[in-house]
């Protein structure tokens, strides 16, 4: 069965480039691209929500169904 991928939304006008979401993602899904966080490898995402929970700036959303 094909797994359903989430949609990861990064709101750049809120992102302060702190690296927290990138560093603590257990699956290395995210990376810093210039100042902002960005999605590098969506396929690896396990929807653990850690990035969304830890972002101090309301800047990352993991949208699942």
């Amino acid at each position: 069965m094909e797994k359903k991928l989430p949609k990861i939304e990064i709101i750049e006008k809120y992102c302060k480039g702190c690296h927290i979401c990138v560093e603590f993602c257990p699956k290395d899904v995210l990376e810093m691209k210039g100042f902002y966080a960005s999605v590098k490898n969506l396929e690896a995402c396990i929807k653990c929500m850690q990035c969304e929970l830890r972002c101090p700036d309301f800047a990352i959303k993991v949208i699942t169904e």
């Binding site: 809120y14 302060k16 702190c18 927290i20 560093e23 929970l53 830890r54 101090p56 700036d57 169904e65």
Partner: protein, 273 residues
């Protein structure tokens, strides 16, 4: 599903003022999730603070809010609770606000066991004013006012709260984000004065001076020092050296609550007329 924080945020206020990587935002999100879990009504909930970076929090929350004088959150909040005992009253603030200038208000709110919840964001420093040491700054740490290392021992906020009479005391960290809402929700539900200390980070005024290369190093430290109370039971004193217990540290449901006791005073006084 992504959590909808907008429900309890004042529209148009983001981005907030906190620095990149400051844990106060993580704590605020935890509070919002707790408010949502308990389905708190905005008109029945007051979030009250003093002064400091942490104390800016109520400005973002869409409910009844009060941003008061430095160290005085507990005094103003007590006024709100006495006037409207049916309200959920939540105090928020920093270690400086709560244990230095506000230390007296803090211990007396604990002593009275008044039904309010106090979330104290302990980043070990006066962040807002540029990094002066607070009563929570660890021994040896550098602050703008202790450039050669702090000679003072720091307060253990949880022990202080328990000693002063608080009946629910918990501790979490900004790293353990998914625990914050659970601790706060349990604290709000507790009938009495509840204290939730969140070990936090101030990369700007504490991290820089104390040789943390980045906010990630500060987060990793929180991750390493925290030991859940249950896990600690199986550890030796040696293994617990330098660790900090997290979770619900103390709970007493037998002690009388202040607004209930005060209602009895009103009854007696009314009958005596």
């Amino acid at each position: 599903m992504a959590f909808d924080y907008d429900k309890y945020l004042r529209p148009g206020k983001l981005p907030h003022i906190w620095c990149p990587g400051c844990g106060h935002g993580i704590v605020m999100k935890g509070l919002i999730r707790a408010m949502d879990t308990l389905n708190l009504k905005k008109e029945e909930t007051a979030v009250v603070s003093g002064i400091g970076c942490a104390s800016r929090l109520p400005g973002y929350i869409d409910c009844c809010t009060l941003h008061t004088a430095h160290g005085r959150a507990a005094a103003f909040a007590t006024g709100v609770k006495m006037a409207k005992p049916e309200m959920n009253v939540i105090l928020v603030g920093g270690d400086g606000d709560g244990t230095a200038i506000g230390g007296n208000h803090f211990i007396h709110a604990c002593r009275r066991n008044i039904n309010m919840t106090y979330i104290i964001m302990n980043n070990y420093i006066y962040g807002m004013t540029g990094g002066q040491f607070s009563p929570c700054t660890p021994t040896g740490a550098k602050a703008s006012t202790t450039p050669y290392g702090n000679p003072d021992p720091g307060f253990d906020i949880a022990k202080l709260a328990i000693g002063a009479g608080a009946t629910f005391v918990a501790r979490g960290t900004a790293f353990h984000a998914n625990q914050i809402d659970k601790l706060i929700a349990e604290a709000i539900q507790h009938k009495g004065f509840s204290v939730v200390e969140i070990l936090d980070d101030c990369p700007t005024t504490y991290g820089r001076r104390n040789k943390y290369k980045s906010v990630i190093e500060m987060m990793n430290r929180l991750k390493e020092v925290a030991v859940p109370v249950k896990a600690a039971e199986k550890m030796t004193a040696e293994q617990l050296q330098g660790k900090v217990l997290t979770g619900v540290l103390y709970k007493d449901e037998t002690k009388p609550e202040y607004t209930a006791e005060y209602a009895k005073v009103i009854e007696r006084a009314t009958a005596a007329k």
